[in-house]
């Protein structure tokens, strides 16, 4: 699903204009980004949590130089799926009901 399709679908269900839907979606994504930039975690109900993880400086293999190198301290975005979504997605491929999580 593309971003424009998502905007369209949400606009349809909320009966708001596409422009308003687009603006709200952009505002949401940018707000999430800005909060993660300062190290906050944002939880969207039903969907999951956008959080950050900090990796300390570590030694690792670098394929470019075919050698080991010291990788600097780094902060990365992580997404933890919400329990509801995880259980809904768990057995989407199974014919019969899968085992509980």
């Amino acid at each position: 699903m593309d971003q424009s399709e998502l905007v369209e679908q949400v606009a349809l269900e909320l009966r708001i204009s596409h422009a308003a839907s687009q603006r709200l979606l952009k505002a949401t994504l940018r707000e999430i980004r800005d909060l993660m930039r300062v190290g906050h975690a944002v939880t969207i109900p039903h969907l999951g949590t956008f959080d950050t993880a900090t990796y300390e400086e570590h030694r690792g293999y670098r394929p470019v130089s075919n050698d080991f190198a010291i990788f600097p301290k780094r902060r990365v975005p992580v997404f933890r799926t919400g329990t509801l979504l995880r259980e809904e997605v768990y057995d989407i491929e199974a014919d019969e009901a899968g085992a509980p999580t």
Binding site: Q3, V10, T28, R33, R37, H40, I70, P72, V78, V89
Partner: protein, 273 residues
Amino acid sequence: MSDDNKIALHDFAALVAARAKVSTVEANTYIHQLAKTMSEELEVGGDIHLYHFGRFHTTHVDEQAGRDPNSGAPLTIPAHSRVHFRAYGALRLAVNAPFNQLRIRELTPDKKAWRTRTGFWILLLLLALLLIMLGIRATSWVAPLDASPIPTAIVPAASVMPEPIPPVAATTGFIVSPGDTLWGIAEARLGDPYWWPIIYAENRPELSHRNPDLIDSGITLRIPALTGSVNNPSAADLRLRTNGYQMAAEDYRELGNPRAAAYEQAATHWSKE
């Protein structure tokens, strides 16, 4: 996993509302509907691509052997699907903002790194260009001063009036035409080129350059009359020659021309005799 950095939903909705310039209720409704729509899409196995943010997708996980975390009994985890989120570069860069200036450090320094540096090659090119330019400038400066071992008349670009034969203006005068040299004039009029300094000394007050190597074309040179001849000079002629060599030596020295020493030496040698 501590909760101190978490944002409550109503705070988040208020921030979104302020950013999108709508009411908090609208923002709250929108966030819930967005989550619902995205969940529905993921439940049918679709992908969600959000510009400059990231991509949500589901992956298949095969059946695998596991262990019950409570009792430690072996357990078979059935094949299932799970949700993944892949952050795009813009988001990664924003989140990594405090550490973006840090770089990967190689454990063994790369001695051939300069070969791939563009700046190094540009600097080398500029240096080579500078040297070439300097060379061109230097040759164009040095050429008019030192290229003529024999004194030559310079040719002013404006006066290209053709004077085919040097007309004998008077018995003691000589009109300089382009290409004439003091050396040549002395050879033609006096019979010996080595006597050119006496012509120079005679005309020195009128010459504009004070350079024995440069005379302007179009001027009239006075040729001094010798009491004897070149092959059989009188004492006055010899004095004239010594004075001429002395004058040429002085002017050469003022110009920084290394020929000054030889002329000086000749002049002192003759004056001692």
